[in-house]
């Protein structure tokens, strides 16, 4: 079986994939900080690193039987350690998706899509931002749309994550042309044009690393 055929991950694999995404976020701390400096207060990379350190600490030595618990623990670790806008927002990206989800022991494309659609809604409700407000939603919403299409197309996990990653990347690019309304960049107005959003960049890195992890599976 090559990665291309993979249809689903079990709980242990899901945990490993999230830990890998956390590693990548931490590797990209300088980039995220730089991006946030240009139009925000320059701490996004620091906050995301703190959050994913806590995630690693809390997930590493624990065995999970459900996907729900993994996402919940990931989200809680972020909310309780990070602070800042991204603590709640990225915490909700993991927490919000499993709040009303039936217990799942495996992560397949439909489940993945269901989780992130629900978390997108939760984030919008909490933060009151929409697509085009120069927030992480500019990457998350297109990524979620990609996942939804993949469900319809019965795509493999890798195909679905590739699509989500591409859409997220595209969203990051587009965020350069949006005027910021939320976060510490909110009053920058037109002067933020040309700079991508920090949170959107994190969303892209997260989907990119999930794709990488699945790609390398059983290669």
């Amino acid at each position: 079986m090559t990665a291309t055929d993979v249809k689903k991950l079990d709980a242990a694999q899901t945990k490993a994939m999230i830990l890998y995404a956390g590693e990548k976020i931490r590797e990209n701390k300088p980039l995220l900080t730089k991006v946030d400096s240009a139009i925000g207060d320059g701490d996004h990379g620091i906050g995301m690193s703190v959050g994913f350190e806590k995630v690693e600490e809390n997930l590493k030595d624990q065995e999970f039987t459900t996907i729900n618990d993994i996402f919940k623990k990931t989200g809680m670790s972020m909310v309780q350690s990070m602070g800042g806008a991204s603590g709640v927002i990225f915490g909700t990206m993991f927490l919000g998706g499993v709040k009303d989800l039936d217990s799942k022991s495996e992560l397949d494309v439909p489940v993945l899509s269901e989780i992130f659609s629900a978390s997108l809604d939760a984030i919008k409700q909490r933060g009151k931002a929409s697509l085009g407000d120069k927030t992480m939603i500019d990457a998350l919403e297109p990524a979620v749309n990609g996942l939804k299409e993949s469900v319809t197309d019965s795509a493999t996990l890798l195909e679905a994550l590739k699509k989500a990653e591409e859409n997220a990347a595209d969203g990051v690019e587009k965020s350069k042309n949006y005027i910021a309304k939320f976060g510490r960049a909110k009053s920058l107005g037109e002067r933020a044009l040309g700079n991508q959003d920090a949170g959107a960049t994190s969303v892209w890195i997260i989907f990119k690393s999930m794709r990488e992890w699945v790609e390398q599976l059983n290669k």
Partner: protein, 329 residues
Amino acid sequence: MKKVINNPGDVVEEMLEGIMRAHHGSFQKVEGVNGIVKKELKDKVAVVTGGGSGHEPLFFGVVGDGLADGVAIGNVFAAPTPNTVQEVAKTVDSGKGVLFIYGNYAGDVLNFDMAAELLEFEDVQTTTVKVTDDVVSAPLERKEDRRGIAGDIFVIKVAGAAAEKGLSLEEVTAVSQKANEHTYSIGVALSPGTIPDSGEPTFTLADDEIELGMGIHGEPGMERTKLMPADELTNQLMEKLLDESQLTSDDEVSVLINGLGSTTLMELFIVNRKVAQILDEKGIGIHDIDVNNYCTTQEMGGFSISLLELDDELKAYYDAPANAPYYKK
């Protein structure tokens, strides 16, 4: 930027240890989170403030009698987590409810709101006043979107005095909200502060450039211009402030000249001289002037001017006694 720190990841925790060692006589640490509350709590409405650290002496410096009862402390420039806010609120609540006062930033709003939701389950009643004093951070039509800067001090002062007087949560909230609506601030940046963790300045300004209206995390202001003499600069800032506040010769104000970090008291008093001259010329009464560093941004250069438009009610609360490590009246 050279900083006197150990591991950058430990600055907040070590600062808190240092604070507690100096102030264990009047402070208690909230266990498990980065929160501090007054040692002796009273049976009254509690006032909780907080925000990212890096702005010392705000916010811990105003925890004391007639001011805030507790503070939730975030990482550098990052709002405190919901559980931090929650634990602090639970510790100070006497059953009469808790008023949250903090600067209006997305992160703070998200975290305090989440805490408020969680506190509902635990039967702790909360209300919120978001400080929105920075007049350049959004136009008048979106006043509620404005950022909170040094004006925090005025709002916390009034709230603390009202709570001390025994008012209900609703009443304390209303008068604090009024204090916020009566507070007008404007800042200017000369040079950036540095985040200890990254070692990077939060923005760059040329050697002869300043930014009018810049926010306390380096958020953009209204205009980058050349450095100019203190009087001219003060004139420009006051023009905007008086235009926004619509103060007239019937009004009376308290003035706060707040240093952002590395700007000296000498400079702040030179600014104060001009601010007072301008107010005097317009016939606007000056009830009190406070020149201090309350809301800093690490070693950022610059200052802000805040005006609190007084009425009899606000004046009485402004004048009431207060005693915290970095604010005494």
